[in-house]
Amino acid sequence: MIGNYNPENTNIQASELPPVKENLLVQIWHNRKARTGIMIIGFFAIFGIIGQIHTPYPASFDNFPTWLPPSAKHWFGTDYDGHDVFSQFMYGTGVSLYVGAAVALIAVSLGTMAGLVSGYYGGIVDNALMRFVDILLILPTFPLLVILSTYFKPTVTSTIIVIGILSWPFMARVIRSQILTVKQRPFVQASILAGMPGYQIMLKEIFKFTLPLIIINAVYIFVGAIVAQAGLAFFGLGDLASINWGTMLYYAQSQDAVIYYAWWWIVPPGLSIAILGIAANFFGNGITEVFGERAGEV
């Protein structure tokens, strides 16, 4: 109450308002935080895609002099084996982002489906699903990742599947609880009275409330997967022949880049992971604000 002014009385007559439907995408773009997030993630995405098509030198070419500091010829210098770090970084960005996107796709599909089904049907289905989710949530994720990835043949795809399977439970939980909250609201009762069948109420009335959660979770899972994959690679797990941010950091660590003061080898992948994390947070906060504004809840 205190200090929270209710602008209810400042409502304008509807005739004075332009009857425009605000476009969701336009609204997201106009939000500063969301736009910053999108621009950073977009920059990496474009950079990574270009890296798949063209790099200054072939990413696996290793006949340059070793431990060269950054120069006009080698923007990020060279590593212990004579690779061009910039070319590796460019190519590796694509691989890392691919891992993130693929994991996000798997986890978001599984999480949304489980959340919707659980929240909508309730009862036994809900109970069964949620107990399974509980089990997955209780297990410490990273050690489990470590164990699982030792069993699978270490390829990029197997890493994606393992991380994907472990990333969805939290999201299912969040979406389910959102649905349970929204289900209580009188407008849902009004829809029941309108004669809408259950699945329509779910899709037309309730699903919209989970959209911001899905978007935000997708971005967090995306970044989380990149970090997880880098983490696995850093410990020497997963496909070490693949070039990505994780394996770059792994080799930098195992070949003592710190001792050679080869910061140019460590900083690009390390800093990128951090920046991507910040971008995800910007984006998430921005989306929350946009949807809040749309629903008039901010």
Partner: protein
Amino acid sequence: MESQISINENNPTDGTQNDLIRFVDVTKIFKSGHVRNYALDKVNLSIKEGESLSIVGESGSGKSTLGLVAVNLLRINSGKILFQGKDISRLRGASLRSFRRNTQMVFQDPYSSLNPYNTIYQSVIAPVNANRQYYENLTGEKADSRSHLRDRVAEMLDLVGLTPGQNFLDLYPKKLSGGQRQRVALARSLILRPRLIVADEPTSMLDVSISAQVLNLLTKLKKDFKFSVMYISHELGTSKYISDKMAVMNLGRVVEYGSSDEITENPMHPYTDILIKSMLEVGGFRTEEPLAKIDFGQYNGGIVGCTFAHSCPFVTDQCLKERPQLERKENDHWVACFHPLGR
């Protein structure tokens, strides 16, 4: 067939064909742990075609529950709800959905009874979309073109006082004030021309002047559309203002029923008497005399005798042992009390 007899004995109606909705021994129990809480305890009531009935009572009296079971948003534990002579309390699936065209509800909180992500048009048109065929038969028009439906919704918005309706169609609820939202809710509930509108405290969250507008509107619409109203409120003033009939509820039971003028001028149940004396007038208290304290704290349902016995100034042994039934005392006045006032 045996319930047929009990209808005639207990139900405060003349039992004629023009009952729109009739509650027969309706019981709803909420269980919390081992406690069985009787939200509705053998309620018998009826509303005729075109009539409006106010259900008044304090919080916990079961009045809102009665509204929810009337539109079948809650299932009852026992009894019957006859809508135009047909029991609707156990309907399921498609037959339930087709019953729902006949009853609609206006909720208390205008801020959560509209989906914030839907435009006004989307909210109001939802019942039509779900009952396309029915709507076409009802209006005798094809309901397939969007611009046609938009015109119909705009007309409906005009009718509830949102003028010009066209300007409101694409707005989101957040652009509207509480009173305007309640008007949208009315438009949505009327678009299928239902026979019964259940209004659960529709003005209690609105400002006085806005509430007056909504009450004016409800009175006007009632005349134009000729629907029956079940008006649920803790507030006797508006209840009497809206309805010619009134039922007073206390702990899940109807304790008094009849014409609102009769009840408010000559209450027979001691509880109704206290309620009415507690109401305020512009100018102050209705009476300066001290009133009996009401304390329902320790009971929640399953009471043998009268629900009001422990607070009643006229209590006798009979009141504690036996449940008083709703009985006709005057032409249009029923009371469930062994020692009614003024007799």
